[in-house]
Subunit: 411 residues, 2 copies
Amino acid sequence: MLPKIDPDRLWRHQREMDGIGATTGGGVHRLALGEADIEAHRRLADWALARGWRVGLDDIGNMFLRREGSDPALPAVAAGSHTDSQPMGGRFDGMFGVLAALEALETIDDAGIETRHPLEVAVWNNEEGPRFTPACMGSATYAGGQPLDRMRAQTDADGTPMGACVDRLKAALPEAAHRPLGAPFAAFVEAHIEQGTTLEENGKIIGVVTGMQGYRRFRVEVTGEDAHSGTTPRARRKDAFVTATQMAVALHGAFLDEADTMRFTIGRFEVEPGGISVVPGKVRFVIDMRHPSAEALKTEGDRVAAICAAHRGPCEVAVDNYSSAEPMEFPEAIRARLEAAAEARGYPQMRCYSGAGHDARHIARLNPAGMIFIPCWRGISHNETESAEKDHCAAAAQVIADVLIELDGQS
Amino acid sequence: MLPKIDPDRLWRHQREMDGIGATTGGGVHRLALGEADIEAHRRLADWALARGWRVGLDDIGNMFLRREGSDPALPAVAAGSHTDSQPMGGRFDGMFGVLAALEALETIDDAGIETRHPLEVAVWNNEEGPRFTPACMGSATYAGGQPLDRMRAQTDADGTPMGACVDRLKAALPEAAHRPLGAPFAAFVEAHIEQGTTLEENGKIIGVVTGMQGYRRFRVEVTGEDAHSGTTPRARRKDAFVTATQMAVALHGAFLDEADTMRFTIGRFEVEPGGISVVPGKVRFVIDMRHPSAEALKTEGDRVAAICAAHRGPCEVAVDNYSSAEPMEFPEAIRARLEAAAEARGYPQMRCYSGAGHDARHIARLNPAGMIFIPCWRGISHNETESAEKDHCAAAAQVIADVLIELDGQS
């Protein structure tokens, strides 16, 4: 008989975390390893330590809350997600998956179940990426997809390197043992809000994720020449803003597919020097291109540089495809197990595809991994109004708890 | 016999000021009443105090260096400009005019000339405007064109009000006496770099400014909805960036006049929240529109809101014409006097028109005022590479010195 999770405890934890980095608009602003994010880590560690579990930290700032098993030779069966948010982001993205994993372990702990494998809550560092690029830095570095030294050297807008932030996290968690990177788990599962409307539209509360679309990210730098806005005639301007906006309009037009499958976004666009009476000499922007088809990503992504060059006007342009990931699929064994667990509890469920990238993508390179989604209101995410229901969060925590026990018994 | 200014002393002062807020790219970053700008004020005050002159400060942060005259009933004959710069701006814009005025007074002082009027160097606060809007805040408020309370309440990006910065300046200048706003001068003259290429192209070193073009400035705010870039299909997006770039391209196209007389610039353009994987829900940008014709400014400026509305797509747009000034002309009496002074010294000179706005525009509302320009290299200004020649700076200081003496004798 599988134990039942405690929906009220889970919701209490969620409410407590909602307060760490809370915004007046009802969201959270909890950038990776900023003050609020470190406080969230500390709070999670306190809950784990209070149960006599151990806390581990690796060199890229991933945190592991560990309940030991009976066989010290076995790798951990793990679940988790991330605690960081987008700027002025939502309360559930990432954090809900961490709390669902914690609730699963607490439920198993309260039931006095002795597992063979250790059980772990994994808290992947910097999943979001707005403070430090790239996104999924913690899980990708853990899984060998990014070089540790370069990731630690990445700086935020103030010039603070990630390495210094990891050191701050370590200082805030003196109880944490050092963990090596790259050690495979027995299995890893992640719960997350869907950030789309498929579940909502279909009246389901659990989505078993089949796979994730791939992406390519480009940094574009347009260089013109600063000039006085009152005295410099148009003919003598090298206006990086004029060029960059024409580029942006051309790019949006070029990737406008009728099927609306392509996800083409320019979310960051910085104009320098930014004076009201200065013709801008520099614009830097970032393109986020996503697609379920590897072939489409290749063909369409390869057009970016040429489109930018064709619209460079009197300016110089440099395009850098600094980050990419192929579309991926989770192993059917894990998908089937998640599906069976949801079915056994009677939760309305369906298979679905992930438009967003998640840490499980990277951990799936090391060991069997899978994901479940729950609905989020109107599909709105990366937004202060992001919202999810208590019952749905509880259902996900229940599926995670049930599956962790099953994975422990079978592998 | 009019005394000769000291080009070496003037250049020494310029070099000293170049070091206050110096950038690695050879410019200065000396935002209004930031640390560097307050240091520049302090240095100027020290030079004045060393000569036994007095220092005055008004409630909007304008500083006056005053050499008394023989008749205490007379208003001051004044010259000056501003010490603040654009972000990563040039060394001569503003500062050169202040130092030319100082050099003029020092020359008159060294020659032992007793003037009837007091002579003053006026240092107008926040001429540039990137830290606190609007530009020309100090001179406009002095001349009654802006309300003092509202200007002191204007905040920078960190939320610091101008009033607090003025208080910091006061604290740094405990010797400064309080000066009332709005007291007319006997006359005011300003020297400035041209920030255009007319003088350079015509081989002249002094430009007698006939007048200034008018301007209208607009704040545009585009409101869409933040959303996840990986999961939100185009059809469900309210992408403020897509809308704002289409608006910007349409605006640039709409004001593209064949004669290249219109100066239409978007120099500030801010995208929120700015995450790589977030569809932007908000864009704020500022339009700077300038034209020599009051009628063209009216007709063309009145089109801005309609063009924005026509391109709003799925977003909301708000347009605010928050600042305007009519084209203006300086009185011929002052223009002729400046011209005669340049001619008497044998400086190649011409009449020219100002594309930029300057403090003299506002002071001209109170009393006779005029301006001279010197060439700046390639017309480049609001840029770290902005440059002017020692001999040209000296010529301008000489014209200012000569004209101050003449204005003292005649009015």
